[in-house]
Homo-oligomer: 216 residues x 2
DNA sequence: CCGGGCATAGTATAATTGTACTATTTTTAT
DNA sequence: ATAAAAATAGTACAATTATACTATGCCCGG
């Protein structure tokens, strides 16, 4: 039986350290390292490549999506398991397209995590209910034509910057002033974000920002 | 050296189970039980009273605040440690008044958690930077008169109901229709919530709901 | 039985957000 | 080098939210 090297990135120290304990208790995990954000995880990987990387979607400094993109680009042999708080379909689909190997909610059982680790390491993908529901929903929506064809939730850096300021309770005017932009420009970015993530009001924006780990 | 019984409530199974492992590794912790929400925790306590209860602030079914209120009322001898994701001052102050014994961010070191457990069990309160900053900020705000005197963040049930619907991206009109209320009534509730929690726009509302565990 | 908080509902106005476009320049990727 | 994507800025109008009040009936605790 092969044994695996597993790295984990999560900004919540308590959770992360507890997870390290848990992972070490798994029979076929032989080495565990942890990082508190995506950047540090990448540094670890550069130094020594693991079999599996467990990445929290919600992280400051470098969020889960960006981290995965980097890992896949530089080390495609590393299998990635995403941990997420909420089963927000939008970016899960996006990340599946990116080539992530598993998605787990933070309220799964430890044994399921263990299964997922072995599955991605050996069979490349771990298929669970979360993934199934995302796929099903995507099909349904495409069929009924709701949210026409799912514009990818690929927020640009500028858009992310503005989203963060929105979440700091700044108005369009204040953001314009802060970034030395016309109010119209800010408004346009705002609209573009809303279209990309498929919402139509402020509430949707803030929820997305939370769920995607853009704000914490 | 006395040893302690510790219970933990958190809806994220992975985190909770990992925490159970961690807690069991502490020298002076002799027994650990876990519950996935406030209700279950109360049931456990009813059956057998622990020395310390660790409660996640963000929980569905019965949120942290409500859970603590119940514990303090029925079992004042149980020491309570609140775990919170974000250092949102507002309800920390409120919960301090309620008589909670410690506040820890989820990104503290395991050793600090250990210290906190022993401290609350023996000395009744664990004082850390988070608590200090909340107290300091409260003093400052009272002095400068911002947010006049801190109206308690005690959202009523009706208000909570409306807040939840706001977070589901419903407009005032839609909420009014859904609850068979006048739009004006809904608007008034909305304003009252905003005043109670000290925000002045939708973004603040949604962030509060997230941080307080009212929505997940 | 009385005050206070709560839920209800109203009026009126200001401010901000949401929708729907066009258009120019800059940056990026092939 | 060129096409696509991103960032910039604009106009105009509709819809919603935010602010600031008044007012009434209800229920609960002292």
């Amino acid at each position: 039986m092969r044994k695996f090297k597993v790295y984990i990135a999560d900004d919540h120290t308590l959770f992360r350290k507890a997870m390290v304990n848990l992972l070490r208790s798994f029979d076929r995990v032989e080495e565990v390292k942890d990082a508190e954000n995506g950047k540090d995880l990448l540094a670890l990987i550069k130094y020594d490549v693991p079999d599996v990387a467990i990445v929290d979607l919600q992280m400051p400094v470098m969020d889960g999506a960006e981290t995965c993109e980097q890992i896949i680009k530089k080390h495609p042999e590393v299998k990635i398991i995403i941990l997420t708080m909420h089963d927000s379909h939008k970016y899960i689909l996006h990340m599946m397209e990116m080539g992530v190997h598993a998605f787990l909610l933070k309220n799964t059982e430890p044994t399921e995590l263990e299964k997922a680790i072995y599955s991605v390491a050996e069979k490349d993908f771990y298929h669970n209910d979360l993934v199934a529901s995302v796929l099903r929903k995507n099909i349904t929506e495409r069929k009924t034509g709701q949210r026409p064809h799912f514009k990818h939730a690929e927020i640009t850096d500028r858009e992310k910057e503005i989203l963060i300021l929105i979440c700091r309770e700044l108005t369009i005017r204040e953001i314009g002033y802060k970034l030395s932009l016309s109010e119209n420009t800010v408004r346009n970015h705002r609209v573009n974000i809303m279209e990309k993530i498929g919402v139509n009001n402020t509430v949707g924006l803030v929820k997305y920002a939370y769920d995607a780990g853009i704000v914490s």
